[in-house]
């Protein structure tokens, strides 16, 4: 147990890589072994994660400057001339994301089985490398390490969309790649500027933040903040940087859409709470209103855009932009409140906003999966052509309804909690403007109901007669996520408790003047 938790983070990150390397030497024809290895690669990280969650409360929090507020530290010198270290650690923000990741990757892999038919070896290897990148981002405490993992995510994603995607896959894949890359190179320049300005000579995120958070607001620090923020906002994605997302989501194969929505978007939100906001809280506070406005636009615009779509999957894609908007407004509110001395309220907003990202991570993969189930059977995602599914495939239709209600924020399911707390926390900062975001909620609810009417209700269509209902594999993917959505919908305490200390710490940091 001790070894499992003390080397846990490295295992979580590199076990998939190790298995991917082993798979390189397995012949293409031996598909069974390839699948076994791939499942091993995604399941091994779950073991240390569970061990860490089990010992989370008892594990002491570190207090040194380099690891402040973190647990399960790994620290090895890497490039000492420029102060780059292999430093890993997690706080509440990190461990929840890791837990989400080790849950979703095996499920998405299971969803790939039978769905992906050609070049299976390539697919599985890329799939595992993707997990290396995402898990690495969530545990990095060193900027360079973070950046390496951040970029590692790009390539496998490009290929996963570009090779196995839908009709316009090549366009979608390169659009995704370019958007993210331009964001991240500018981010690198911003980070290097901060590194040189502080003179700490260390890329440790926490040490850097301790210095940079007290820098005066100048043109250059403002540049650095936006360089970081835009790099992350592309991933979240936040209006106006969201246009890659509908394309990427629609063209990606179902399992990859699940991961995109469930994990990859969270890289952006996680990076904001880990890097851009703690590093330059003074600039963040100054531009909190701007961020809030962009968040509100994300919410309302994405909701309206979703309503206008004819493609089921595109609707769900836009709903991701919508939900992540709640995180953005909560974060903006938190930096506004903290800088005005209301750290307590800021913590509420932060907790709510972060909860949204977690609940969205549970709900949206499942929604994409539901769309995928329809697509596999009917070979269409056109809302005009689908219909009467309650008559044709009742169980799938029920599952879809459950997901849709979770996604629109029905009380009692996980989606509601986060949005409710986020709005509560945002209200003291921006007053009645929060109502505009509330309007987004109403539109969201409306299109969900309309879509359900179109797809699920009505007379059974002749051309879809005789479709087979849910399979065992699909149930197996659906069950764990649905159960968690239910549990966290009525009992959010486990997540909120895990987040508590980190949220308070961040709220305090955001108030640094």
């Amino acid at each position: 147990m001790q070894a499992l938790t003390s080397y846990g983070l490295s295992i979580i990150v590199f076990a998939p890589l190790l298995l991917a390397l082993v798979m390189l030497f397995v012949p293409k024809a031996n598909q069974k072994l390839l699948w076994v290895l791939a499942f091993a690669g995604t399941l091994i990280p779950a073991i240390p994660t569970l061990a860490m969650l089990a010992t989370w409360a008892s594990e002491p929090m570190r207090t040194e400057a380099a690891f402040k507020g973190m647990k399960f530290i790994q620290h090895v010198e890497w490039i000492k001339q420029i102060g780059v270290n292999y430093t890993m650690g997690v706080d509440g923000f990190g461990i929840t994301m890791i837990a989400l990741s080790v849950l979703l990757f095996p499920l998405a892999l299971l969803a790939s089985k039978g769905y992906i038919k050609d070049r299976i070896k390539d697919y599985l290897i890329l799939f595992l490398i993707l997990e290396v990148g995402t898990n690495g981002v969530f545990v990095s405490l060193d900027f360079m390490l973070f950046y390496v993992f951040w970029e590692i995510v790009l390539l496998p994603m490009y290929f996963l969309i570009g090779i196995w995607g839908g009709a316009r896959r090549e366009y979608a894949a390169i659009k995704f790649f370019l958007y993210t890359l331009i964001g991240s190179v500018i981010m690198l320049v911003g980070a290097i500027y901060l590194y040189l300005t502080t003179g700490v000579g260390d890329f440790n995120l926490l040490k850097m933040a301790a210095e940079t958070s007290t820098l005066p607001i100048t043109g250059l620090t403002t540049f650095a903040f936006f360089a970081l923020l835009v790099g992350f906002a592309v991933k979240v994605p936040m209006f106006p940087f969201h246009t890659w997302l509908p394309d990427a989501h629609v063209e990606a194969p179902t399992p990859i859409s699940m991961l995109l929505a469930g994990i990859l978007l969270k890289l952006g939100s996680f990076a904001m709470v880990r890097i851009s906001h703690p590093m330059l809280p003074q600039v963040a506070a100054k531009y909190a209103t701007l961020l809030f406005v962009l968040g509100v636009i994300s919410i309302v615009y994405a909701a309206a855009a979703a309503m206008a779509q004819k493609d089921f999957k595109k609707q769900v894609a836009y709903s991701s932009v919508n939900h992540m908007g709640f995180f953005i407004i909560a974060l903006a509110a938190a930096s506004y409140l903290s800088s005005n001395g209301q750290a307590g309220m800021a913590a509420v907003a932060l907790a709510g906003g972060y909860f949204v990202t977690i609940s969205h991570g549970l709900i949206s993969p499942l929604f994409f999966f539901a769309v995928g189930m329809f697509y596999e059977r009917t070979h269409t995602r056109d809302l005009g052509k689908l219909g009467g599914m309650f008559q044709t495939v009742p169980v799938i239709a029920f599952m879809t309804a459950f997901i849709a209600f979770a996604n629109l924020g029905l009380p009692g399911l996980a989606g509601f909690i986060g949005e409710f707390i986020a709005l509560t926390g945002t209200y003291p900062a921006f007053g009645l403007w929060v109502l505009v975001a509330g309007a987004g909620l109403v539109i969201t609810a409306a299109w969900h109901l309309l879509t359900m009417r179109n797809v699920l209700l009505g007379e059974a269509k002749k051309e879809y007669a005789g479709l087979h209902d849910v399979t065992g594999k699909e149930k197996f993917i659906f069950a764990p996520l649905a159960v968690l959505i239910l549990i966290f919908g009525v009992w959010p305490a486990p997540i909120l408790n895990t987040l508590q200390e980190s949220v308070n710490a961040l709220a305090a940091v955001l108030g640094v003047k």
Partner: protein
């Protein structure tokens, strides 16, 4: 009569120890030439050349670790040999090492190509390659304008010959002629600049030039400043040609396209790397201390920006990969120039270290790419993007290696190119050239556009063609470059140490 006792200490003076690598290269040239008369199996010449370059690397190691030489370096006053023509500082040794690695790799990757397309002109190819090597080694190790110029000419003339080695191919002929005519013009421009500098200072020895220019500029005679700047512009123009920086880049696409593929690979890293070393030496040592540093670094900054944009944007439109790589290497020259500009802020070895690191990373990466191109080149000089269709199914190892090399050129971790870009960013941001860093960042993204075309062809397109036969030389080069790119990227510490040591330019 008693035999005279040989005083080894007198013979093996640092003079000769220092010149050991050059002497080994010359000896290899002679041995290769003589061997050619007697052996039928011409491939032996290749291995002799490789052995010679490896021995020369060992020679570099010996001369760098020689007690007299290394203690002088440690004391901050490196020794000079052969009438102050050559200097023994760590910068020299680093560059010699890099160039020898380049030559060894080019030699290996060209084996089958020479046999197949150059009709077995082993002697010509390797002899001239070694001559170019010798020129480059003098170019990087001198701090006298005359020796630098002689080294540069030896390299250039050898390069003209190499470009035209496909004698029956009009494109190759055109390449050689264009390269030669443009190169001659550029040499003239450079020489004119050198003559102006000599006119001001009465010397070609770089440290004396620095002192002389100081006097001239302080004398306050009307018009001196503009004349000195004119001289600098001429010198800049001459060197800009050698590194194919905009606006002196127009020869490069044609020369790169027409030259035999392994030679193109050599052009893109060898003479270019040596020219960068010479630029650093001339501008930092001779012009660095003068109050005109701002002016000449601005000139280079403008050239860097233009090279990056024009190189990358034009590369987007190419369908022939060799031409595309020509424009890519113009853009890469722009990136490296960012480091040159940053190092103009004297007292910051950050810039020099960044240039050296990037040159190393770029050399490894580009040679890897050209090894794969040599493999793909089945018509003796012409490689289309569409030739790469479905390579990931036909020769997966090469496809993945090429992907990693492209990633390295774009500057995405975990590769050598990323670390190189990182140091360039750091140097630029650290010396108040934030805008240059941003231009570079934007250009890195633009460059994705054309590499993407090849990657798309390799991985997303299908092809019915048969896998191409794999040659040992190419495979070994790809493997070495691949390991090198990842090693320098992931385990950068020792390489940073080397470049930092070498950044002590004198």
């Amino acid at each position: 009569m008693p035999l005279p006792t040989i005083d080894w200490a007198a013979i093996v003076k640092p003079n000769y120890v220092y010149l050991l690598p050059e002497m080994i290269v010359v000896a290899t040239m002679l041995i290769v030439m003589v061997t050619d008369f007697y052996v039928r199996e011409k491939r032996l010449l290749v291995w002799l050349t490789v052995a010679g370059t490896v021995l020369a690397m060992i020679g570099v190691f010996f001369s760098a670790t020689d007690e007299t030489i290394s203690s002088a370096i440690a004391a901050g006053a490196p020794l000079e040999f052969w009438g102050k023509m050559l200097v023994a500082d760590s910068f020299t040794f680093f560059m010699k090492m890099v160039l020898l690695i380049v030559v060894a790799l080019v030699t290996m990757l060209s084996i089958d190509y020479v046999e197949k397309y150059l009709k077995g002109m082993f002697l010509e190819f390797y002899e001239v390659l070694l001559a170019a090597t010798l020129g480059m080694m003098f170019m990087v190790s001198s701090r006298d304008l005359i020796t630098i110029y002689v080294g540069l000419e030896l390299t250039s003339i050898s390069s003209y010959i190499l470009a035209g080695l496909l004698r029956k191919d009009p494109k190759s002929n055109e390449a050689a002629l264009k390269y030669f005519l443009n190169g001659a013009l550029a040499s003239a421009i450079l020489l004119f600049g050198v003559s102006l500098v000599y006119g001001f200072t009465g010397t070609t020895y770089l440290p004396d030039i620095a002192a002389g220019l100081g006097h001239v500029l302080q004398s306050g005679v009307a018009g001196t400043i503009s004349l000195v700047i004119t001289a600098m512009i001429f010198v800049t123009g001459g060197f800009a040609f050698k590194i194919a920086a905009v606006p002196m880049h127009l020869w490069a696409p044609d020369a790169y396209e027409g030259a035999p593929t392994p030679v193109t690979g050599f052009f893109s890293v060898g003479p270019k790397g040596a020219a960068f070393a010479a630029i650093l030496r001339v501008f930092l040592v001779a012009f660095g201390a003068s109050q005109l540093t701002k002016e000449w670094s601005l000139i280079w900054a403008v050239l860097a920006t233009a090279s990056m944009f024009i190189g990358n944007l034009t590369a987007l439109m190419q369908t022939n990969i060799k031409r595309m790589m020509a424009y890519s290497s113009i853009a890469q020259a722009g990136y490296i120039l960012v480091g040159v500009v940053a190092s103009s802020a004297m007292g910051s070895p950050m810039g020099i270290g960044a240039v050296l690191f990037y040159v190393l990373a770029y050399a490894l990466t580009n040679l890897g790419i050209f090894a794969v191109l040599t493999h793909m080149d089945q018509e003796g000089g012409w490689v289309k993007v569409s030739d790469f269709n479905g390579l990931s199914q036909r020769n997966p190892a090469y496809a993945w290696a090429l992907l990693i090399f492209f990633i390295s050129l774009i500057g995405i971790p975990p590769t050598a190119g990323f670390m190189g870009k990182f140091f360039l960013f750091r140097a630029a941001v650290g010396t108040q050239y934030l805008w240059l860093a941003i231009v570079m960042a934007v250009n890195s993204v633009i460059s994705v556009g054309y590499y993407y075309g090849v990657v798309k062809a390799m991985f997303l397109e299908k092809s019915e063609r048969e896998p191409l036969p794999v040659s040992f030389g190419v495979m070994a080069t790809v493997a070495i470059a691949f390991i090198g790119v990842l090693l320098v990227g992931l385990w950068a510490s020792p390489f940073i140490n080397f470049t930092q040591m070498a950044a002590g330019l004198h």
